[in-house]
């Protein structure tokens, strides 16, 4: 166990040097790093959100809305199809995840089924099925036809909605100009968002919490709002509240005049006359044409700008708007105008997102945690080093040098893997410092025993190392298993702990079996001691 061929010797030296080299960037500032030649390693350890501050949000796509939107439009399609075919029907509506309709004349039922079946389309998601599944399932029971979405169609819709949401979320967050946000799909309905170093986490939530469906509607002036609220609003019209919180409402025609999907740009600005913050927008060609047509036909009438079922404003059309651009004013603050233009540029979410979990750490707490972690690590490190020195003397020096190399290797590995260092991760490093000596302690204690049983120093040390090896491997694999499970199960900060613990276990076994052993072997060769100073 004590003979080291030259290549092994070199390899150990290289690994240790790499450890120091890779961990070095963590001890200099980012500015200094930028000035260094590019062949030097420059990866620093990633700091977790709990150390650098930032927001962690777990969002969920509102599944019900995604599915009911589809059923809503299916109702329209069914109505259109039956009307076109001149088939009489009653009781068309959607309930319990189904669209149902009663066909008046029993003779028409078969023809109706035929026509409605044409509404269904193949689901494309699964390429391995020879005959693609259709997206709708039909049932007929004494003149009542019910239509529901198939499992495959639901899944496809949800997947699409999730993917689309992720894209929109990414665009909205990119507008905030933060560095390296994480936006990840989690399971079938969730999105994980991690945004480091954010000044205003509330604004992030406000940006993500809005669907941002913008539509232009005509205002229904046939009855007053009060009347519409008291009785039923006229068919095809709907009362929507004003966004300003005044409690006021506007009666609008349901039919969408122009939708926000036709927007190509939106920018915040100021009204030239009133100096009020506004958002100016521009339509694409077809949107511009529709907008021109509608405004031309309705000069003198009010129209409503509706965002997420709330009316931003309902100005009167003074003259036809032909250029395809316009502006929205609604008593915004500068930030509100800014955020609204971000939302309009990024596009609407297919369904609302709910915040299931939020963990936000302010920059102040993050900095405090780093400072506290550093102090604790240094004190712990110093205490362990002194203790080892006092107990083991010369061999303690070997162990301590190995410990320092060990810490360098941990930081080197963290930098190389671009792993994330969290506060519990720092705790993991400190814990590893405490436990890292374990391998050396096992070996030293074993050597002591062998010396007591009458072996010569070289013999005792040799046997000590080989006997301790199995124990060390067994003992460390168990801790490694715990760390691996933690890594699998844990989230964020806890994962950081698992990473440092696992890396620490590997490096500490490595240093005990190579570095300290190498020192001991060199010392034996040079001194040829008569007894082991343990």
């Amino acid at each position: 166990m004590l003979y080291f061929p030259r290549w092994k010797y070199t390899l150990i030296a290289i690994v240790c040097a790499l450890g120091f080299l890779l961990s070095a960037p963590n001890f200099v500032s980012k500015e200094t790093l930028a000035d260094l030649p590019s062949w030097l390693p420059s990866n620093q350890v990633n700091l977790g959100l709990d150390l650098q501050g930032g927001s962690h949000l777990l969002l969920e796509v509102d599944v019900d809305t995604v599915l009911s939107d589809r059923l809503e439009s299916l109702v329209d399609d069914v109505r259109q199809a039956l009307r076109d075919a001149r088939i009489g029907y009653t009781g068309l509506g959607n309930a319990n995840d189904k669209v149902s309709v009663r066909i008046r004349d029993a003779a028409d039922v078969e023809r109706a089924m035929e026509i409605l079946r044409e509404l269904s389309v193949p689901v494309t998601s699964n390429v391995f099925v020879a005959v693609p599944e259709r997206d709708l399932a039909f049932e007929e029971n004494s003149g009542r036809i019910s239509i529901s979405m198939t499992e495959a169609a639901r899944n496809e819709r949800l997947t699409n909605a999730l993917e689309q949401s992720i894209e929109i979320v990414r665009r909205r967050i990119d507008e905030l100009g933060t560095t390296e946000p994480v936006i990840q799909r989690q399971g079938t309905e969730r999105i994980l968002v991690q945004v480091p170093g954010l000044d205003d986490p509330q604004r992030l939530k406000a940006l993500l919490g809005r669907t941002a469906k913008l539509n232009f509607h005509l205002v229904d002036t046939s009855v007053s709002v009060a009347e519409a609220m008291q009785n039923r609003p006229p068919s095809g019209s709907q009362v929507l509240p004003l966004v300003d919180g005044s409690g006021g409402a506007v009666l609008i025609r349901r039919r969408v005049m122009v939708s926000g999907e036709s927007l190509v740009d939106a920018q915040p600005g100021f009204d030239q006359r009133t100096n009020e913050p506004i958002v100016s927008f521009r339509f694409d060609a077809s949107g511009a044409k529709r907008f021109a047509d509608v405004t031309q036909a309705n000069v003198g009438r009010p129209f409503a700008i509706v965002l997420d079922n709330e009316v931003i404003s309902a100005p009167v059309i003074r003259e036809p708007i032909l250029g395809g651009s316009g502006q929205i004013s609604g008593g915004f603050t500068v930030t509100e105008a800014n955020d609204l233009s971000i939302l309009l540029r990024a596009g609407a979410l297919p369904a609302p997102l709910e915040v299931l979990e939020e963990r936000t750490v302010g920059p102040g707490l993050g900095a405090d945690s780093i400072a506290a972690g550093e102090i604790a690590a240094l004190i712990g490190f110093a205490a362990v080093i002194i203790f080892i020195l006092v107990v083991y003397g010369l061999f303690g020096v070997f162990a301590n040098v190995a410990l320092i190399i060990n810490v360098a290797l941990i930081f080197g590995a963290l930098s190389l893997l671009q792993a994330t260092l969290t506060l519990p991760g720092i705790a993991g490093i400190v814990l590893t410092i405490g436990m890292a000596v374990d391998a050396n302690v096992l070996i030293f204690e074993r050597i002591k025993e062998e010396v007591r049983s009458g072996k010569t120093p070289i013999n005792a040390i040799d046997v000590g190392y080989s006997r301790a090896l199995d124990t060390i491997v067994d003992a460390n694999i168990t801790t490694f298993i715990a760390a691996a499970i933690l890594f699998q199960m844990g989230s964020g900060p806890v994962k950081g702990f698992a990473v440092t613990l696992a890396i620490g276990i590997i490096t500490s076994v490595f240093t005990a079996f190579t570095v300290t052993r190498l020192f001991v072997s060199i010392w034996l060769k040079q001194r040829r001691p008569a007894e082991v100073p343990l």
């Binding site: 777990l58 302690v441 715990a482």
Partner: protein, 315 residues
């Protein structure tokens, strides 16, 4: 250089003689812990209970009474307000609100509206009811999985008696730690689960070192009475057990006192875990081998060679 000697070379403490006392005390402690957890319950943090946690920094010492009266006006149900480590650092906990995820988010808005910009929002955590349920499941699963994997690993490397002994010691450590958290009503959150898993790993580590020595002695001394053999194994590894526990404790104490308020609960759990883990490997894991009775004929395996086949042939 004179060196500190913590455990004399010729130490021979008859641990096994007091096995009934130790096992009795441990059994009592485990039962008491289970009763305590059942009766007093664990003080679940928002990770498991759901709700909102807001840590604020005030300018100058915080006026807790004033904060309490202002926040109770918001009608958010149970609101806990306590100082957190420093006088200008306050922790506000609000219970889960009826309604969905949006209702939880409304809490943050309400508190922010009430306290305004004059305080620093150091930390905001909101855990909705669905997520907290999942976190409980994941936490329990992690612990069970860890213990299960240890059971299998030790089974392969040793024999079933060792595996059972080690796992009983593990479960013992975990349950007593839970009992302590129930008695002291310390906050039990995700990081405590992480600490428990580390305790599982550490306690196992300690036990494996003792068991390894037992196995080695079983191969060497075929006719030595088992009680005597176990005593020798524990004593021979005692100085290592003490040294490693001490260095680990030193590091953890530094974390406990200087690592900041956020991870104090986490470090406390681990400090306790090191103590109980060290105790259990000596006083629970070793005597259990005597009660379970290990196979004495190890001649099938070469001396000094750890061998998975031995474990298999024993079954």
């Amino acid at each position: 250089m004179r060196k500190l000697k913590l455990i004399p070379d010729d130490t021979h403490i008859p641990f096994i003689r007091s096995r009934y006392l130790a096992l009795g005390a441990s059994t009592l402690a485990v039962i008491a812990s289970m009763v305590l957890v059942a009766v007093m319950g664990l003080n679940f943090g928002i990770d498991f209970r759901g709700g909102t946690l807001i840590e604020i920094g005030t300018e100058g010492p915080a006026d807790i009474a004033d904060l309490r009266s202002r926040l109770s006006g918001l009608e958010l149900g149970e609101v806990q307000i306590q100082s957190f480590g420093a006088p200008d650092d306050v922790l506000i906990r609000v219970e889960t609100q009826p309604g969905g995820a949006a209702a939880q988010q409304a809490v943050v808005d309400a508190v922010r509206a009430e306290l305004g910009a004059e305080v620093e929002y150091r930390r905001v955590e909101v855990v909705g009811p669905t997520v907290s349920g999942e976190l409980i499941e994941a936490g329990i699963l992690a612990i069970v999985l860890a213990v299960g994997m240890m059971l299998i690993y030790i089974w392969f490397r040793f024999e079933w008696q060792f595996s059972v002994g080690a796992v009983v010691a593990l479960v013992h450590d975990v349950l007593i730690t839970l009992g302590l958290f129930a008695v002291l009503q310390l906050e039990f959150n995700l990081s405590i689960i992480a600490a428990l898993l580390t305790i599982v790993g550490y306690s196992m580590n300690d036990t494996v070192v003792v068991y390894d020595r037992v196995r080695e002695k079983l191969r060497k001394y075929k006719r030595m009475p088992l009680a005597e053999l176990l005593d020798q194994a524990v004593n021979k590894t005692l100085s290592r057990t003490v040294m490693t526990s001490l260095t680990t404790l030193l590091a953890l104490l530094a974390l406990y006192f200087f690592g900041g308020e956020v991870i104090r609960g986490f470090t406390f759990a681990m400090i306790w875990g090191i103590v109980i883990g060290t105790y259990s490997s000596i006083f629970v894991a070793a005597p259990l081998l005597l009660l379970l009775g290990v196979k004495r004929d190890w001649s099938g395996a070469g001396a000094g060679e750890p061998d998975g086949n031995t474990a298999k042939s024993a079954n």
